[in-house]
């Protein structure tokens, strides 16, 4: 079962790399924000997976919960901030 | 923002929020709604069931719910409505999950279709919802975003919706059955 978790985590990392393309080269700031948000949601799952790999689920679940909250607040704040910039580059 | 004559009690709710004068009865309603939620969260997150930690939880949850409960719900639902909600929400969720799975399969098909740009047709539709309470509008807006190829762009407190749909087929389903179900869940039909 540990092997399956390991491969699932690796696959998640590969998908994060795909989303990272949008996060780095997205034509507008909001595209990059979408990429970052997608990476964040994958990271939450990845943290729980890492917890299962280390057999410390109780600790990593708390970290994942805090990360999900932070990710949500970050996206809200960033979108509120960037809407004031007209061009969005 | 399309401003169309908001109903009067919306202004009253905002005035209450600004001046801080929330009528005491309403305060108790929102306390009754916020306190159990917070306590349940406390118990799950702390994971200790001895008297000391539970007492701490009750005290701090009661204080926070008393101080700020009225900020979460400026117009709290009536207790009877809350009861209906707890009763009917578990029926709504499985239907919503089924819709979400259908929507995701449709979107998955679109995503991997080689001629995707010919299939999609992004456009914005407007409609007016008959839902009244804020919680019902929130649930409806979030359900729209989660289901068939549609994202809530704008949702005003008096029920004006702007929805971004990714193709014509997914736009036709709105508001339709989902609004009826949300209205039923929140006891507004």
């Amino acid at each position: 079962m540990d092997k399956i978790f390991l491969y699932a985590g690796l696959a998640l990392c590969a998908l994060m790399l795909a989303s990272l393309y949008r996060g780095v080269f997205g034509p507008t700031v909001l595209d990059r924000l979408i990429g970052v948000n997608a990476i964040g949601s994958k990271t939450t799952v990845l943290l729980v997976l890492v917890g299962f790999l280390f057999h410390r689920e109780d600790m990593f679940v708390d970290i994942a919960l805090a990360y999900a909250l932070l990710n949500f607040v970050a996206v809200l704040a960033a979108s509120r901030y960037f809407q004031k910039r007209g061009g969005l580059g | 923002m399309p401003q169309t004559q908001p109903p009067e009690d919306r202004y009253r709710a905002e005035a209450d929020l600004v001046s801080g004068q929330v009528r005491p009865v309403k305060r108790i309603y929102s306390f009754l709604f916020v306190f159990p939620t917070m306590l349940a969260l406390w118990v799950v997150l702390s994971g200790r069931f001895d008297a000391f930690h539970l007492t701490l939880g009750v005290i701090s949850c009661a204080l926070v719910a008393f101080f700020s409960g009225d900020l979460f719900f400026p117009r709290p639902p009536h207790p009877q409505q809350t009861f209906i909600l707890w009763l009917r929400f578990p029926i709504y969720v499985p239907w919503l999950m089924y819709q979400i799975v259908l929507a995701n399969l449709h979107l998955l098909y679109l995503t991997f279709h080689p001629r995707m740009p010919e299939l999609i047709d992004p456009h914005v539709i407007h409609f007016r919802s008959s839902l009244k309470s804020e919680l019902a509008l929130l649930a409806f807006a979030n359900s729209i975003t989660l289901t068939p190829g549609t994202i809530t762009v704008r949702c005003s407190p008096d029920g004006d919706f702007a929805v971004h749909a990714i193709d014509r087929a997914s736009a036709q389903a709105l508001p339709g059955e989902m609004e009826r179900r949300v209205a039923h869940t929140f006891g507004e039909d």
Partner: protein, 108 residues
Amino acid sequence: MDWVVTVMLALGLVFFTGAAVGILRFPDFYSRLHPAGKMDTLGSFLMLAALALQELSHFTLDNVLVAVKIMLIVVFYFIASPTATHAIVDAGLRAGQGAWHKPPGERP
């Protein structure tokens, strides 16, 4: 039990893949939000539910608490993800972001 967990993990990965590919392929940022907002939610739900099931395979009080916490993340996600999506689309509209339209000739 292991098979159920594996299948659910794989299904979640399929939806996550759809989300990643969709974010890369769709033409403008309004339509990119569709895969990002929806498929990520369902993918997270499937994978986290699988992990909660795995946690429940040794049935003790601590494990049940961890499983409940994992489902708490899922519940949070189902509320937060549409809200974040709405915040981004709202920011785009207010900044006057143009939308991609189908070329007129192709409309049926």
